[in-house]
Point group: C2
Chain length 257, copies 2
Amino acid sequence: MDSLEEVNDFVKNGHQQYLPHISLDSVIFGYHDQHLKILLLKWKGMNGWGLPGGFIQRREPMSQAANRILQERTGLDQVFLQQFHIFGDSPYRLQEQSPQEFTKKYGHVVEDSWLFERTLGIGYFALVDYSKVSVQTDFFTDDHQWWDVLEIPTLLFDHNEVVQKALATLRLQIYHQPIGYNLLPEKFTLNEIHSLYETILGKELDIRNFAKKLVSLGIVKKLDERRAIGPHRSPYLYQFMKEAYENALKQGLVHTY
Amino acid sequence: MDSLEEVNDFVKNGHQQYLPHISLDSVIFGYHDQHLKILLLKWKGMNGWGLPGGFIQRREPMSQAANRILQERTGLDQVFLQQFHIFGDSPYRLQEQSPQEFTKKYGHVVEDSWLFERTLGIGYFALVDYSKVSVQTDFFTDDHQWWDVLEIPTLLFDHNEVVQKALATLRLQIYHQPIGYNLLPEKFTLNEIHSLYETILGKELDIRNFAKKLVSLGIVKKLDERRAIGPHRSPYLYQFMKEAYENALKQGLVHTY
DNA sequence: GCAAAAGTGTTGAGAATACACCCATGC
DNA sequence: GCATGGGTGTATTCTCAACACTTTTGC
């Protein structure tokens, strides 16, 4: 959606293609340099940041819409993607938006649009390999940036609430499901997965006990390879045991870290 | 909504009052006689059972809508009520409904209605005191019944999936949150809460270990009272420690049963 | 006294935690 | 040789799980 014509059509007639009153909002987590980050977009004209999102096509399964939106935005496919909450209570989710606001923001006159009506937001979160993402912006957004989860600014709409809920869900989920397959490269060092878990949980984990745990759960295995890392001892590489991992995803784990 | 006029108006003009494309579906759990039960309604004309549900008013917070619908249906207020999933993938959630079908079901001619459009379902589950519920039916339903969760029949729409997901969520949640405050009378015996947990989890729990656990978590306390139960030894009564309970609700627990 | 349900404690195994020193590498 | 990060094992504590007999009560 780049040309003015396309945008005009979307604003005026989008409800013929998309379900009105429902948006999908994606919290895309990436992990880089021992920091857990979230992809934010800068809204044109509003001078503020918000989550990427989109709408569900009239005859498209909801989860397919979530995948499509992620794909369009990041180029990624087949990543971990999961709904976690619906947002329909905050003041922003109650009121209609005004046409004047819209015109002011985008310098674009519109009398009426399905976009101004009340919209509930379905929150999805994704875990992606930071390095593989190539972000597309569109007419409504003109910049993107990865933000450390500890330094998220005040966001547009109710998106701070959405991010907080996503984080809380991720932290809870890590007790029941293995996490990391989509956040780490295929082969990784113990330190990398260790600080990933520390980062997500926001607390320190003894690395020796942590390694024992992961291996005893059977979801990672130590390889016979090492990675050269400059002036220091070369760390061993680890890899997820795909089968055990998938199994744990489905069955759920009960344990602590 | 009883008179034909009201129903007609709802079918034709309901979208002026309610958000289209979105319904709320409630899985109402009650506990009675050592069985976990779900409240189902019998759909008029369709000869099948389904979950109670409703729609969100245009300017009503979503969670308030969920409470209102529960209140209208059961007379209950201030119970545990929580969203757990949105359903938008099953074949039933993809297609529009046909006016002919509607007419056949309700013996009622309608050309077109917002009710025929594709509708996503927001699943809520409630935990209620079985004995306090007094069920209201409406134009679309003509009977109600509590069904044992182990004996749920084939339901209308995608409601079997909704029920299964609600159960799975409840079972997962019981590892992180205390449950029972809304399902049991104020004072209860150890046996009662014990079989509640056994029922929800669908497995046996050693009653001695179970009691130790609950007390050590600090969410119930043993009272100095007993209940007379006929020809047998009188059991002690227990009570939830409201503060610790609320705390555990908010903070989450990590432990096993 | 007997049938039915309630009450109660201990032990062993396994898991979680805490903790510190040596190794490899490049400069 | 030294600075930096990586690697490894053991002892202690705690939690979980398993298990059976005695007490109360009304008839």
